[in-house]
């Protein structure tokens, strides 16, 4: 039996949703919600030549870096020294989200944390490998493990906040951020936690990782015009642009959030997750996994596809993803998908943090009643028949929005986010 044949949930969606009451970002497009939003709306790519290291010998020499990040603003010198950049991003974004939520009172055992990342402290790992090879095993830093372990951010946040509730880390490649939010929502829904800080972080713009993605033929090679490189759904796309950053949301039990008078950005109402079971680095060409995932999320939110007003796509700017996702959207929305955007045109691909950053973008879209444009969408791909928002923001009437994330490994996650005032 297909997902769409099941009866919709008997519970009203508000009882199954989580309120998004706080948001925080650290991205190439800005590290405040205002800056992030305005940069997205400007529709200009953040891709530039890499500054973090000398990339002159690499096949791909540009990226979307977070250029203005100072860990000392977010933590003491000791903590900064003992954390990798990915954990620093996570702590900064999560604490911004917590502040944005108004730091509500919560019993420590009822407060959970769900973080996501890929390989954890990639730059630290690369440094230690160099130490090992060039100077010997004695020169490998003794704190390398706690610095690089993917769950470091979740542990550090629990210590900083004193939260003793559920504390987990997910890693599903480019679907990680959406999975983190979805799993956080389920902790709220099943009554395990009243408040959850959920999100993801990524800091893997390193010589080896950039080379790995380049050699996999996943990256755009437009070294001469980086700002034109990330162009989701455009006919001249040639791969994604690697980015870095973090995004976190504070999720709360809707009833408790309303009771305390919290400002609710939006409701996370539905979550789908599944696997393509097809290929480690390619989406199923017919988009079957993506179709089922979106349908699962809509079913979870008890919302019909006709009600969806906008899709924030995975939209990576790779040939295969964008085509497969377009096919999937046509199937889910019966040949008439609602307007779509793809924030990766501006942000680049934040890899594991992408889904979380894009969920924040969706919340801001709902707040402002505007869909930000896809950067560099100039030449429509004849094989992709989508209503792509391009050239400027597009006003829309806030309603249910689907946000997609699809990862290497064939792991998919879709979220349904609805306005906070209209569950």
């Amino acid at each position: 039996m297909g997902v769409t044949e099941r009866p919709l949930s008997p519970l009203p969606s508000v009882e199954r949703a989580a309120a998004i009451t706080g948001m925080g970002v650290v991205t190439p497009a800005g590290s405040t919600l205002d800056e992030f939003w305005h940069t997205l709306c400007a529709g200009k790519s953040m891709a530039k030549p890499i500054e973090a290291f000398d990339a002159s010998g690499l096949a791909v020499r540009f990226a979307c870096e977070v250029l203005d990040f100072d860990p000392a603003v977010h933590m003491g010198a000791k903590e900064a020294r003992r954390t990798d950049r990915f954990a620093q991003f996570a702590i900064a974004a999560a604490m911004k989200a917590w502040a944005d939520a108004g730091t509500p009172e919560v019993a420590p055992e009822r407060a959970g944390i769900v973080t996501g990342t890929g390989s954890g402290g990639t730059s630290t790992t690369e440094r230690q490998i160099r130490n090992f090879v060039e100077r010997g095993p004695e020169r490998v830093h003794p704190l390398a493990i706690p610095m690089t372990m993917p769950n470091a951010a979740a542990g550090l946040l629990s210590m900083r906040l004193g939260w003793t509730g559920p504390n987990i880390t997910v890693s599903t490649a480019c679907a990680t951020g959406s999975h983190a939010l979805g799993e956080g929502m389920r902790l709220i829904r099943d009554g395990t936690a009243d408040v959850v800080l959920a999100g993801a972080s990524e800091a893997s713009i390193t010589p080896v990782v950039v080379t790995e993605f380049a050699n996999l033929q996943a990256l755009s090679t437009r070294n001469d015009e980086p700002s034109c490189a990330s162009r989701p759904f455009d006919a001249r796309r040639d791969g994604f642009v690697i980015g870095e950053g973090a995004a976190f949301c504070v999720l709360e039990n809707v009833g408790l959030a309303r009771e305390r008078g919290a400002r609710i950005h939006a409701l996370l109402a539905g979550y789908g997750r599944n696997a393509d079971a097809y290929h480690l680095a390619m989406p199923a060409p017919d988009g079957a996994g993506a179709v089922a995932c979106m349908q699962m999320a809509l079913h979870d939110a008890a919302i019909d596809s006709e009600a969806v007003v906008h899709v924030n796509t995975h939209g990576t700017s790779t040939d295969l993803n964008d085509r497969a996702e377009a096919r999937a959207l046509h199937k889910v929305f019966s040949g008439d998908p609602p307007p779509v955007t793809a924030n990766k045109g501006v942000l680049g691909h934040l890899v594991t943090a992408a889904g979380a950053a894009e969920a924040v973008a969706v919340c801001l879209s709902l707040t402002h009643g505007l869909i930000p444009p896809v950067a560099n969408y100039v030449y429509p791909d004849p094989e992709i028949d989508l209503n792509v928002v391009a050239g400027g923001t597009r006003p829309f009437r806030p309603g249910p929005v689907v946000s997609n994330s699809f990862g290497f490994g064939g792991q998919n996650a879709s979220l349904v986010i609805v306005p906070g005032t209209d569950p």
Binding site: G76, A77, K78, R82, E138, R139, H141, P142, L143, P146
Partner: protein
């Protein structure tokens, strides 16, 4: 660690003054630990377990000194942190440095 031993170190440190890799004195090590742990006061004769420093601070200290001096540190130092002072740790740390060729 005997005071006599420390005197030898101090003398050698003084003779190497101005060179890049002078042998650290007990005071140097205490200062380094203060910097790493962000603890203002550290008495080298108080048990580490009674100081505000934690095991990771000591681990970082040992690594920093070994890295700076280009020697290996004795991991056994970490085995008995409950019953050791910074002065004792200093003795264990300084041993391989003094044993290393003076031309380092």
């Amino acid at each position: 660690v005997s005071r006599q031993f420390e005197d030898v170190v101090a003398a050698r440190a003084a003779s190497e003054k101005g060179e890049n890799m002078a042998v650290p004195t007990l005071e140097d090590v205490v200062d380094k630990l203060k910097e790493l742990s962000e603890v203002d006061e550290i008495d080298p004769d108080t048990l580490v377990s009674e100081l505000e420093v934690d095991s990771l601070d000591v681990l970082e200290l040992l690594y920093a000194i070994a890295d700076e001096q280009d020697v290996e540190f004795d991991e056994d130092v970490l085995a008995d942190l409950e019953d050791v002072t910074i002065r004792k740790i200093y003795g264990r740390v300084i041993e391989p440095i003094l044993a290393a060729p003076a031309t380092r």
